[in-house]
Amino acid sequence: MESVIEVKNLDLAYGDLVVMRGIDFSVKKGEVFIVMGGSGCGKSTLLKAMIGLNPPQKGKVLYDGVSFWDADEQDRQNIMRRFGVLYQGGALWSSLTLNENVALPLQLYSRLSGTQIQDVALLKLGLVGLGGYADFYPVELSGGMRKRAGLARAIALDPDIIFFDEPSAGLDPLSAKMLDDLILELRDNLGATIVVVTHELASIFAVGDNAILLDADTKTVIAQGPPKKLLADSKDPRVIRFLTRGEKQGAGQ
């Protein structure tokens, strides 16, 4: 299968503080790709470099062969329009109702009429199970519902690529499971490619087709492959500790 996203030899840094060095991986069309690692290892920084919020220090991010950070402003906009991003807290605009939140990207970038936009926005809320909450404001919802609403906004424009930043953080196990199921449903129904940044083991094993593990000490990628295969085959004690919550120490220890 063809690669939708390719990250080549990427260095991430804040000023002089180097966060990650030489990241290399590719994401295939229609797969759920997981970026895992402990807190503070640079997962979110990597995500920011991929979705165009923070330029990397060095290296390339390619979307279907087009280098994002080398492209001109117009091409970059076009690439970004293919993304949907679910931010950690949902990042809903608090002065808009859920329906208005989902409708805003449609008003900006679709060619639909006003009533069609309303219908599509309502459909997206229906897809995440919030069909009845269209006129609610974000403050009136629970954390899990806010995340699902954020997801409805992320898929407003039927993106080919959806990024999730810590989707299950702060959710109870059932809500987290519900969100994981939604991720798989979106992949199957919309045919989207999905990148998930997370350190929740339950989600990693439930949804991940492929994964990389970042390590804060060496500032590099220390493992790459399907999560279940990594757990079964990896010899690296750091990988085993991460994937078993430190319950197994791994070979040689």
Binding site: L112, Q116, G126, F136
Partner: protein
């Protein structure tokens, strides 16, 4: 455009076949459901709608929402819809019908309130607001009492940081504005006094006006925009972040810990800033009068000395003291009662400034009136 994508076929009796082709995606746009309904009206015999799709047919969620709408209208008209022509994915997506979910949730908002009801609820709101202001003032007074007995708890470092922020850091802005006010007063005075050949009285006008009221009012307006708004925003965001709840659960009174140092700092600093503004204003008037209007500097100085009495200074400082209380309390009150959202913080900041400036003008009027009555 829509005609090319959507064609109608009535060849089978009782069946409307929709022939779909081309791009039915939200980035391109698609025909309205009404175009299909317009075809149904002249054909009341139709009992079934079916579809055929061409090879270049492309769809996304916009098409799903089109289908959902069409099928809900068809249901009302007792028209059957057959969807064999579509890939299985479409049928899966149709299951997420949002209107089916909507029925489960009871509507939150009632219709419009009758006029009398809305008047009544406004009155009740006003009463609640007045009570909550009194409650807040009471909190401050009891915190002050605890402070005097040495029992109040707040960090001295916080207090001095706030003093620095609402005192020394504001000097530049206060200098600029009060020098300009002095300059403006001198120019306006000069126009009138020239007619009598009494230009030297500019010194009296600038001196008395600045010291008695203008210095205090201009400083207060500046500080309500600068410091009052920042108090409201700071406390508002702390409220939104549950930081204030965290203090309460520690057994620390937020009024003592957060409000007291702010009120104290501003009540001390505003009279001092007023004094400074008075001097700057007089300096501004002095430069213009001696430099441009040709008044002798020594004469200007001695005129100012004799015109501005100590009572004027006291009145100015009392203004500053009262304004300090008003600005600090308006800012802290709005911040502490802030709603937990970004819009709430914005609203709190705005209303802190508006409340403070309104109260400043009212207080000035009251003080001026009282001074008139007691003849100071």
């Amino acid at each position: 455009m829509s005609l090319e994508k959507l064609a109608f076929d009535f060849s089978k009796p009782g069946v409307l076949q929709l022939k779909l082709s081309g791009d039915w995606q939200l980035s391109v746009g698609l025909p309205a459901v009404d175009t299909v309904l317009a075809q149904l009206d002249p054909h009341p015999d139709i009992t079934e709608i079916s579809f055929s799709v061409s090879r270049d047919f492309k769809w996304d969620s916009a098409f799903i929402s089109f289908l959902l709408k069409l099928s809900s209208i068809a249901k009302q008209k007792n028209i059957r819809i057959t969807m064999q022509a579509f890939p299985p994915q479409i049928e899966k997506l149709l299951k997420f019908n949002p209107s089916a979910q909507a029925e489960k949730i009871t509507p939150r908002k009632a219709g419009e309130e009758p006029f009398l009801d809305s008047v009544g609820s406004k009155v009740i709101q006003a009463k609640d607001a007045a009570l909550s202001v009194l409650d807040f003032l009471g909190d401050i007074v009891s915190a002050l009492a605890r402070l005097i007995r040495g029992k109040a708890f707040f960090r001295k470092d916080d207090f001095f940081a706030i003093v620095q922020r609402c005192g020394a850091d504001a000097l530049g802005l206060v200098s600029l504005i009060s020098i300009l006010v002095g300059v403006i007063l001198a120019f306006i005075g000069a126009i009138q006094l020239k007619m009598f050949g009494a230009q030297i009285y500019i010194a009296d006008i600038v001196g008395i006006a600045m010291v008695r009221v203008m210095g205090a009012v201009m400083t207060a307006v500046l500080m309500s925009g600068r410091t009052g708004a920042s108090f409201a925003a700071e406390l508002g965001i702390m409220q939104a972040n549950e930081e204030i709840d965290a203090l309460r659960t520690l057994g620390v009174s937020p009024t003592e810990f957060l409000v007291m140092p702010r009120v104290l700092a501003l009540v001390i600093m505003l009279p001092l800033l007023t004094l400074y503004a008075d001097l700057m204003g007089i300096a501004g008037g002095f430069v213009i009068s001696t430099g441009i209007l040709g008044i002798n500097p020594v004469e200007y100085f001695s005129h100012t000395m004799s015109a501005v009495k100590l009572s004027n200074l006291w009145i100015g400082l009392i203004h500053g003291f009262v304004f300090g209380i008003i600005i600090a309390i308006a800012g802290c009150y709005r911040g502490m009662r802030c709603e937990r959202s970004s819009a709430g913080v914005g609203e709190a900041t705005t209303s802190a400034v508006v409340t403070a400036i309104t109260a400043i003008v009212i207080a000035t009027a009251v003080i001026t009136f009282v001074c008139q009555v007691i003849g100071v």
